[in-house]
Symmetry: C2
């Protein structure tokens, strides 16, 4: 694949740039942010995040969605993206970019350009940026407090063996709603599994966490005959939101929550640092669960 | 290399975040831009841009400098960067990140975070952003006009066989000066060789270009016994500035230019689209030169 042909193809997909901005084709893109701006980069690597049999469209879609999920987890509105594509000739880079840009556009995110080279291994890295919705704020991981309730959207587990990990759904409406809801203290997206990610949110907020494994909503993709609780806590790549709220606001949240997406409380933030679990009999022990890591596959 | 250990190491290298910003450790970084913002991503791939024998420090330094060079070519002041690192275990990712962040810092660019995964091939992609210097502007490739003079900083050629391509020097002072100088119409950095890059600037401005190969300043790394003009025009990875100015302003530029870095006029923008060269006898022909492309090495 010739880089110039690919750029021409991508130009054709991106119908003009937003007013006052400069997109594909210069040394850098240019835009004028409206205020506080959040930016994240997320990369996918062949044989770690997907296999050589994965359709290029699935790689492109996932690359965009996984990056956008980080913006959703800030409560942001997506604005733009640039793509760094390192593509062997036997991968269909045009099909990949078609799907990638289509997924960006589905969320109102404009493709402002990028960089493309050959490679012996497909690696695609997407940088996305966004802004707070007007009158709202951006939610970091670090605002939670001891006594806060941990809540997740959707249901968890089984994303890998059923292929759900290839089509994450960035939770923009839910994230933006939570950013404007006053009792939300901290938020992140779940990529390494609740057992690994909840302690990150807790540590960023100077707390520990106590998870209630029996309360974690299990996705239908979970194999109920094979340690289902472990799958829900450890499988990773759920791309759901994990957020901490003032505990007393939980009933209000249940009443006010305007989405079909389910919400479940799955634990607490505690003073004691570290990660703990409560068993069905109310006994507390250090968490025996490890999260997901991207070993070769 | 464990991702958490690498993140802890990088956190240690980055001494706190600028006031009002949020750096490493959240789903996204956050900062508040001062106005028009330019952003670019540049990726390096093992066996294309460097070999498995290249020291990790050289890879890190080049990854930062090559990305920053795109900001310099906008006349921008660098602000921040995020890094997407895909690193096999046999590469020293800490040494790479040490050099990368040190190069960012040397130019006043703050590392705001990134993403790190394992890989079977080292791929590092750096996204950088910057802003116009106060009271100045950002210079795109597209503002040049027929009759403009094409000028380059420094000297060109031979960057690959002597290893100079590993330590590009982003031309920030020169780029910023040219952005505030009224007669500069367009600018870019030279990465694929003057013969390939000058036509890009010309096409973006709706013009063609006429290069004067005998006037192109040759770097001491050029082998003068082996088609030296071709090396200067085609070797690539010079990371010098190419800019178009109002032709009548050339004498003023020579007088006012405040830097030790040399400047040479190397051609013209012309009405006729395409790329042409003038031989020593003043005869004009379509350009026979191809630029550099990143074939496997």
């Amino acid at each position: 694949m010739d880089e110039d042909r690919l750029i021409a193809h991508v130009r054709g997909l991106v119908h003009g740039d937003p007013a006052g901005s400069l997109g594909i084709g210069d040394d850098a893109c240019v835009w004028t942010p409206g205020g506080a701006t959040c930016l994240s980069v997320d990369g996918l690597v062949e044989s770690r995040h997907f296999t050589k049999e994965t359709p290029p469209e699935a790689v492109g879609r996932k690359a965009a969605a996984a990056a956008l999920s980080d913006l959703a987890a800030m409560g942001a509105r997506p604005v733009g993206a640039v793509v760094s594509l390192h593509c062997p000739t036997h991968w269909d880079s045009m099909a990949l970019m078609d799907a990638l840009i289509s997924e960006l556009n589905r969320h109102g995110c404009h493709c402002f350009g990028g960089d493309s080279t050959g490679s012996d291994l497909l690696v695609v890295s997407v940088t996305v940026w966004g802004e707070a919705v007007e009158g709202s704020r951006l939610l970091s991981r670090s605002g939670a407090q001891t006594g806060d309730l941990l809540v997740v959207t959707g249901s968890l587990g089984g994303s890998l063996h059923k292929g759900r990990h290839l089509c994450p759904e960035p939770r923009f409406p839910e994230g933006q709603w939570l950013a404007q809801w006053p009792a939300t203290h901290a938020m992140m997206d779940l990529s390494d599994g609740l057992a690994a990610d909840a302690p990150k949110l807790a540590a960023a907020s100077g707390c520990g966490c106590l998870l209630l494994p029996g309360s974690v909503p299990r996705h239908p993709d979970v194999d109920e005959h094979n340690d289902p609780i472990r799958q829900a806590l450890c499988d990773g790549e759920d791309f759901e939101l994990l957020f901490a709220i003032e505990a007393a606001a939980w009933p209000s949240l249940q009443v006010e929550w305007p989405f079909d997406t389910a919400i479940h409380s799955v634990g607490w933030l505690i003073e004691q640092s570290g990660s703990y679990v409560e068993d069905p009999y109310g006994r507390v022990a250090p968490s025996p669960f490890q999260g997901f890591s991207h070993r070769p596959r």
